[in-house]
């Protein structure tokens, strides 16, 4: 129903002359379209210019990209940045890996012009991707340089006192304090770590999480490996959903800087969901399918799909090869999250 006809209806007989005016005004403005409303609700793609206009090319930020240099990390680097730690041999021949991780309060630009007072591991969101092999001895020295109490809680199998929760073992690490978490790497698979101090949701939502990979004793086939940690920012701090959704720190980042991969090469994605305040997250790949290994604790895929859903803390490994060159979108198939930042491109080249 067009506004012009509605106006005519309101005005009745007396309004006939005036009711015709809006149309004539358009003509005077040089707009050749027969009606001001041409196309609204009209499915025809030929209904005239200005029919769809702006906004149909998808979500967009004003102002392009954030300042990665000031943030101190770039999601393009985070993708393939695996931290194997300082490696040495123990007297019994086992591999010892040592890391030093610090917690720090840091304001980061999470969207052009939007600053977020984050709590970080090693100054970035997500924190570093720690990688080891099943059976390794791990020593993680955690230094709390933040103004808030924190811990490091690792998913995996370890003694109670190494769990990084308040009241057990060393418990909470106060500002200025430090502690060495020491345990064996098991089971192999794709895990994560995060702060476990209360209020838990806020400590996680502020950015205190990272990916933790334990490789199987016999390595997986060689591949172009990528880490993708799905998360969000509740910039209003009201615990009601998130204003921004992202993979590896910055919303829409891979829209501007696509993930570059080679055609036919095996691509392995370590996909982790640490989204807070929303019950689920998902990953959908365009123009392709992938083998999915839930939690990566088995070497046989459980399904062959193009979409997986993960609850908070859930994760899995996706393996695929791109048969075609070109740009392929990937995003949350919770489309709302895609429109709010969780969206990117693979760019496949020869």
């Amino acid at each position: 129903m067009s506004g012009a006809s509605r106006r005519g209806f309101i005005l009745g007989g007396a309004g006939v002359a005036l009711g015709a005016l809006p149309g004539s005004a358009r003509a005077a403005d040089g707009d050749p379209s027969p009606s001001a409303h041409a196309g609204h609700g009209d499915p025809s793609p030929h209904a005239g210019h200005g029919v769809h206009g702006g906004g149909i090319n998808g979500p967009m930020f004003r102002g392009g990209a954030v300042d990665h240099a000031t943030n101190g990390f770039n999601p393009s680097d985070v993708l393939r940045d695996f931290d194997y730690g300082k490696v040495s041999k123990l007297p019994n021949g086992r591999t010892l890996r040592e890391w030093e991780i610090f917690a720090a309060d840091k304001e980061i630009e999470v969207a052009p012009g939007v600053r977020f007072p984050a709590w970080t591991f090693n100054g970035r969101v997500p924190g570093p991707t720690l990688r080891c092999t099943a059976g390794d001895r791990l020593r993680v020295r955690f230094v709390n340089a933040s103004e808030h109490p924190h811990t490091m809680h690792f998913h995996g199998i370890h003694p109670a006192e190494m769990d990084g929760v308040p009241g057990i073992g060393r418990g909470v690490i106060e500002p200025g304090g430090d502690f060495v978490y020491e345990f064996d790497a098991e089971p192999f698979g794709l895990h994560l770590y995060h702060c476990h101090v209360g209020p838990l949701a806020e400590h996680i939502a502020r950015g205190m999480y990272g990916t933790f990979i334990i490789d199987p004793p016999k390595p997986r086939p060689k591949a172009d490996e990528l880490v993708m940690m799905m998360h969000g920012y509740n910039t209003t701090f009201d615990a009601q959903g998130n204003q921004l959704y992202a993979v590896n720190g910055i919303p829409f980042h891979y829209m501007h800087e696509p993930v570059r991969v080679k055609r036919g090469e095996l691509v392995r994605i370590y996909l982790v969901n640490i989204l807070e305040y929303d019950p689920i997250n998902s990953f959908h790949l365009h123009g392709n399918f992938f083998d999915y290994f839930p939690t990566g604790t088995r070497l046989e895929p459980s399904e062959y799909t193009d979409t997986v859903v993960q609850a908070q803390g859930q994760r899995g490994i996706c393996e695929l090869r791109f048969p075609h060159v070109g740009k392929f979108m990937f995003h949350a198939h919770k489309s709302e999250f895609a429109d709010l930042g969780w969206m990117g491109f693979f760019e496949v080249t020869e």
Binding site: A14, H40, G50, G53, F237, D339
Partner: protein
């Protein structure tokens, strides 16, 4: 003028100047010292934005926003229905009371609701609801014509229709006229309450930078005072006329004319607010909801014509005078509609609605003496019944508007 007085006491202006100077010094000292003793405001900045005007054109949502809070606001990103959109607007922070126009690129659909979320640099979100998207009519001559027509529909014609009852009223007994005036008081009281509530509601939307709900009371107070002044002026003039032997009018007749005039002004100011409501509703497309709004307003306003002519039953005013009264009462609806459609500013609208409220209250006070019966009582069963009937009629016709 005597020299001794000049010598003994300084002239008055010296006292005035000295007093002002002393107050200025004291205030300055307070500002300088007081600001030091006050603790600095801590915590995150208070970010407030009021959307003063929404203009919808195909694929574009244009918002006129004003910073109504104490701190500067930097608009960083905007999402519509949970999708970030490209937009243009200032990239500088918006200072207190600063205004900016944001043009959002979004394929909105007619009739749909939209939630616009403005994300500031600090991550705060300011929400703006568009209840039902309808293309905003282009401003200019056509809109003006349309608003004149709508104003005539809801203002001038119904008032004129109500005035047609004058011959009927003439044949009625004095007690009937008294009841009719009581009915008028009821009608007006309802309008005053209605306009006050609407003004307060609108004031909420305006963000409060210009006083919020206070604007309604300010408008009401100013209108009341202004009309009281007009009334005093007219009373004085009519007294002079009554005293002069050339005057043919009886004091009673002049009083009736004056009352009709005051009622017309009061109703006129009320209709200004009503026109404003129609105009701004049209600007955001709400009028497109149906003809019921216009029909309802028209019916509602017929009673206003009745109110204008109720005091004129004892005389024979010229057709020209009646026409003038009708226009005085009805035509402001046209002015209001034009302003409403062109400006669409909640703060201004609530101020003008307040003006209507003050005008009506003044008119009620004007009418009150005419309600007295022979024993001088205001509220006998006949007049209370009249007032109640007036309230009920307005309530009933008001339901038509909401339809």
């Amino acid at each position: 003028m005597s020299t001794p007085r000049l010598r003994g006491k300084p002239p008055v202006w010296v006292f005035v100047a000295a007093t002002i100077a002393a107050v200025a010094v004291a205030l300055t000292a307070l500002a300088v010292l007081g600001s030091r003793s006050l603790p600095a405001r801590t915590g995150p900045p208070v970010e407030q934005l009021a959307v003063e005007r929404t203009v919808l054109t195909p694929s574009v949502i244009e918002l006129t926003v004003r910073n109504t809070g104490p701190d500067p606001v930097q608009i960083a990103q905007i999402s519509v229905n949970d999708a970030y959109v490209a937009f243009t607007g200032s990239t500088e922070p918006l200072n207190r009371l600063g205004k900016d126009v944001l043009r959002l690129d979004y394929p909105w659909q007619e009739g749909q609701p939209y939630a616009v979320s403005i994300l500031t640099s600090s991550g705060a979100v300011i929400e703006h609801e568009i209840a039902a998207a309808v293309e905003t009519p282009a401003t200019g001559g056509n809109l003006l014509g349309l608003m004149v027509l709508l104003g005539t529909y809801v203002g001038v014609i119904p008032v004129a229709l109500g005035m047609v009852f004058l011959p009927v009223l003439r044949r009625a007994a004095r007690s009937v006229v008294r009841v009719l005036l009581a009915l008028t008081v009821g009608l007006l009281a309802f309008l005053a309450g209605d306009a006050a509530l609407e003004g307060l509601e609108l004031a909420e939307r305006s963000g409060g930078a210009f006083g919020g709900p206070l604007l309604v009371f300010l408008g009401a107070g100013m209108a009341f005072l202004a009309l009281t002044a007009v009334d005093r002026f007219l009373t004085n003039r009519s007294r002079e006329q009554a005293d002069s032997p050339a005057s043919l009018d009886s004091a009673d007749g002049t009083n009736g004319r004056r009352l009709a005039f005051m009622i017309a002004i009061g109703i006129g100011l009320h209709n200004l607010g009503e026109g404003l409501a129609i105009g701004s509703a049209y600007a955001v497309g709400e009028l497109a909801l149906g003809t019921a709004l216009v029909v309802g307003f028209a019916l509602h306003n017929t009673t206003e014509g009745l109110a204008v002519v109720a005091p004129l039953t004892r005389q024979r005013p010229s057709l020209l005078r009646l026409l003038a009264l009708g226009l005085l009462a009805g035509a402001p609806a046209i002015v209001g509609a034009v302003i409403g459609a062109a400006v669409d500013n909640a703060a201004l609208a609530s101020l003008l609605l307040g003006v209507g409220v003050g005008a009506i209250v003044q008119v009620i006070i004007q009418i009150a003496p005419a309600l007295r019966n022979q024993t001088g009582r205001y509220l006998d069963p006949a007049t209370t019944g009249g007032v109640a009937a007036g309230l009920l009629i307005m309530y009933a016709t008001g339901l038509l508007v909401a339809a």
